[in-house]
């Protein structure tokens, strides 16, 4: 049997106010662009989350026990659903109730905390786990790190935290000559199972679907299923990992993406040797083919599949160093609001906006960047960070004098 594993990433950051200036430091502690966050969330809910969730519900009813998908929803996205559009959460809960949908653990704040603070990382994974349990009544056993950032250490740490399956990018620097279409095991691990994204087949849907210059345009469910079926005999798991916003948001409805997805399960299941699985079921169905050694970080971003979307230029490095530098000071306040505010600044998107790589990935970065330039993003972030630092200092000063 060959299995298809669909995994969708759902994430929305709390974007900062575009006009948070030097003059706001010390005067204004409202950092977030409430209006934009609400508008974007509701727009994406209408175009993607709600219609796609309802479509998946239909497909699950149509193929009981057979059509399965998985999600990772960042804690900050869940918070925004709670705040701006609780109906989205309800539809996710409806999906959870079918038993054919797995919810995966990640960092609550969609952060790069694994790289900068293991303590913070652990806390955020725990928070996320609780959120999943609270809403979806399941305890995640699968883990994926922010933006599929992965190396041997991430796998070992996740294993220690009790997870038995982990997702990563099937990048060339991970796989070398090997195929992504098998279950693997991280080097030095005994229990952990590693699922690697088939980026060719994933990106056919996520990025190339509506590209008229692509030789395979237009992509039909039938054509796509034939590519999948051709793997019969040379693979076991085909991992299709993508942003959930692919449906209706990155690929608009008029590209035919919904019709494609509606027809896909039927086309795939026409072949008796093919099935859909949730990530947690992979380990029950397959044995790892071999161990994979990944000493360096990989991610699913850009062509490099590395960390350079978030780290590497001085804007990114100086601001992320500073924001983690104050961790102890923030936590010492024991003020849940301040800690939450600080944690929201750890969200990886802030550093993604500061990326200055403007070559082939520039378009994607631009699409996702609410600021005019990486420099604007940096200035706003540092203004906010300076206000937060000053707020905390004043608070501890007042405490001392009280």
């Amino acid at each position: 049997m060959v299995s298809l594993i669909f995994y969708f990433q759902v994430h929305q950051p709390f974007r900062l106010r575009k006009n948070y200036s030097f003059f706001d430091i010390g005067n204004n502690h409202f950092y977030e662009d409430e209006e934009a966050n609400r508008a974007i969330l509701n727009k994406v809910a209408d175009k993607c989350y709600i219609p796609t969730n309802l479509m998946l519900l239909d497909l699950i009813k149509q193929y009981p026990g057979k059509f399965k998908v998985s999600f990772s929803i960042s804690g900050v996205a869940i918070e925004q659903f709670e705040k701006y559009n609780p109906y989205v959460l309800e539809t996710f809960q409806m999906l959870a109730e079918t038993g054919q949908v797995e919810f995966i653990a990640e960092t609550y704040y969609h952060s790069l905390s694994f790289i900068f603070s293991k303590e913070e990382f652990k806390a955020q994974v725990e928070m996320q786990k609780q959120k999943v349990e609270q809403y979806f009544k399941q305890t995640p056993t699968t883990f994926r790190n922010t933006e599929l950032i992965y190396n041997n250490d991430v796998a070992h740490f996740a294993e220690q935290l009790g997870f038995n399956t982990i997702l990563a990018e099937g990048a060339n620097q991970v796989l070398g000559w090997r195929s992504p279409n098998f279950l693997y095991q991280p080097v030095g691990s005994y229990k952990m199972n590693l699922l690697l994204k088939n980026f060719k087949l994933s990106d056919d849907i996520a990025f190339r679907f509506s590209n008229r210059a692509w030789e395979d345009y237009p992509l039909t469910a039938e054509k796509y299923a034939s590519w999948i079926h051709s793997i019969a005999g040379s693979g076991e798991v085909i991992n299709l990992f993508m942003d959930y916003e692919t449906f209706g948001e990155h690929q608009w409805e008029d590209t035919g993406i919904f019709n494609f997805m509606r027809a896909l399960p039927g086309e795939i299941l026409k072949h008796p040797d093919f099935q859909f699985l949730m990530p947690k079921e992979a380990a029950l169905n397959y044995t790892p083919l071999s161990q994979i050694d990944t000493p360096f970080f990989v991610s699913w971003a850009d062509l490099e599949r590395d960390l350079t979307a978030w780290l590497g230029n001085s804007l990114q490095d100086s601001s992320i160093e500073k924001v983690y530098e104050i961790e102890e000071m923030v936590k010492a306040t024991k003020d849940p609001d301040l800690i939450h505010t600080w944690r929201k600044l750890l969200t990886s998107d802030h550093f993604y906006y500061m990326c200055t790589k403007w070559f082939s990935d520039g378009d994607v970065h631009k699409y996702f960047n609410p600021y005019e330039s990486p420099y604007d993003a940096f200035i706003i972030f540092t203004n906010v960070l300076n206000d937060l630092i000053q707020t905390i200092k004043n608070k501890s000063k007042n405490k001392l004098s009280a």
């Binding site: 706001d24 010390g26 230029n313 601001s319 160093e321 500073k322 330039s373 420099y375 960070l385």
Partner: protein, 431 residues
């Protein structure tokens, strides 16, 4: 160009900042070839600098003036004077006599003419009869307006607004009112309604309003309902109250602020500021640096700052305009202009308006005028950082530098203000 200017005080008679400003503006205008007649309530027997035509309201012989007016009206037919009256455009000399006999101001005037031998009484003080004097000043304005020997009228603050508007009415000439302070500045939220009404009356009847700051302009538009296009901002050259309080703001950070404000281009030397800032930053933490402005070097400066890891002490504001420029200067403790080459450069003057001490490069033209400014070679980063440290650590020296520089620049500052006011006149007269 002939200007009829109404003020309330004038050196040597000064009790507030208005006198200094009026004097500075008058001199600045004269230096810019404006023929100025300055009207004030009374000379109080004091001597005034020659070269300025002064009319004291308490010396205006109203009976004489009125006889002249009536004769003038009789001499000309109605069409020549119709445009003089905004309220009743078809006045004849008979109508005028009628107006003279019934209108409130005129009835009072008539009484005064009879009782005081044609002279009105003014103290020029700010005492309890202030409002009466303000109205009487209006009568003088109306009478002087009939003289009609000027191109434009200029009135300073609410005390003179009645006079200005009356002169406009009787002369048909255009009126510029100058707002140095509003009732909201003087009294907070507990405004005196009568004063507010006069201010608003003046602003509404003016053809143009000059505000002394964007902050004031903001009050004029938001509190008095005046369209922003009608308000021009001309900063006075010297103003004692330009620090934070004047803008209703408090300092937003605890540290001293060192400012670079200008285009972020090679010519202005932002990179030298950056490197000097870093040297200071390594030794001294009670300071923040702000680079305000934009330009082709901005991305490079931001990247450099990030590389130097100063993000908790170095800020960029982007291009600032209007009220934000004022706020930025008012918040600053030191202004640095490390220009590589600068023919003149007005920014140090602006900084001094806000009592901010300055460091300028020897390579800038202003260095010649500002004899008391701290000067360094733009390339001498070590010296620059030493000087920054010295001034932010030593308030006394910093204040001295600011004070002395202000003396150096006061003439130039007023000439500049005069020129800008002249430009306002020209734009008004063009319409």
């Amino acid at each position: 160009m002939k200007v009829l200017m109404f003020g309330w005080e004038f050196p040597p008679f000064i009790s507030g900042g208005l006198g200094t400003a009026s004097y500075g503006i008058a001199k600045g205008l004269i230096h810019n070839d404006v023929d100025l007649t300055f009207v004030m309530p009374t000379r109080r027997g004091l001597k005034f600098e020659s070269g300025i035509n002064i009319i004291a309201a308490d010396e205006v012989h109203t009976i004489e003036r009125f006889n002249k007016i009536i004769t003038t009206l009789k001499k000309y037919d109605t069409s020549t004077i119709t445009k003089s009256f905004t309220i009743a455009p078809y006045f004849t000399s008979e109508d005028y006599m009628e107006y003279f006999n019934t209108h409130h101001d005129m009835i009072e005037l008539k009484k005064v003419l009879q009782s005081q031998k044609g002279l009105l009484h003014f103290t020029g003080n700010y005492g309890k009869n202030l409002l009466d004097e303000v109205y009487r000043y209006g009568i003088i304005g109306e009478i002087i307006g009939f003289g009609n020997d000027f191109d434009i009228i200029h009135a300073h603050d609410w005390l003179t607004f009645h006079a200005g508007v009356a002169a406009k009415r009787s002369s048909g000439k255009q009126l510029v009112v100058h707002v140095h302070a509003t009732e909201f500045d003087r009294s907070g939220e507990n405004v005196n309604q009568q004063v507010y009404d006069i201010e608003r009356f003046g602003m509404e009847n003016a053809d143009k309003i000059i505000a002394v700051s964007y902050f004031t302009k903001n009050i004029i538009t938001s509190r008095y309902g005046i369209h922003p296009d009608k308000v021009e901002v001309v900063h006075n050259a010297v103003d004692k109250n330009r620090r934070l309080d004047a803008y209703g703001i408090k300092k937003n950070v605890d540290e001293k602020i060192v400012l670079f404000l200008g285009r972020i281009t090679m010519q202005k030397g932002p990179d030298y500021f950056m490197e000097a800032a870093h040297r200071v930053y390594k030794k001294y933490k009670n300071v923040r640096f702000v680079m305000a402005g934009s330009g082709d070097m901005l991305p490079r400066m931001i990247t450099r700052m990030a590389s130097l890891r100063m993000i908790d002490r170095f800020h960029f504001t982007g291009f600032l305009k209007g009220i934000d420029v004022e706020r930025m200067y008012a918040l600053s403790d030191l202004y640095v202009m490390p220009s590589v080459s600068e023919p003149f450069g007005i920014a140090p003057f602006e900084a001094l308006l806000y009592d901010v001490p300055i460091i300028i490069s020897r390579q800038s033209g202003v260095a010649e005028v500002l004899k008391n400014a701290i000067k360094v070679d733009f390339w001498d980063i070590n010296k620059l950082s030493e000087m920054i440290l010295m001034l932010i650590e030593n308030d006394k020296v910093a204040n001295e530098v600011a004070e002395k520089c202000k003396e150096d620049m006061s003439n130039i500052g007023w000439d500049n203000a005069g020129l800008r006011i002249k430009n306002v006149y020209e734009s008004v007269l063009k319409n």
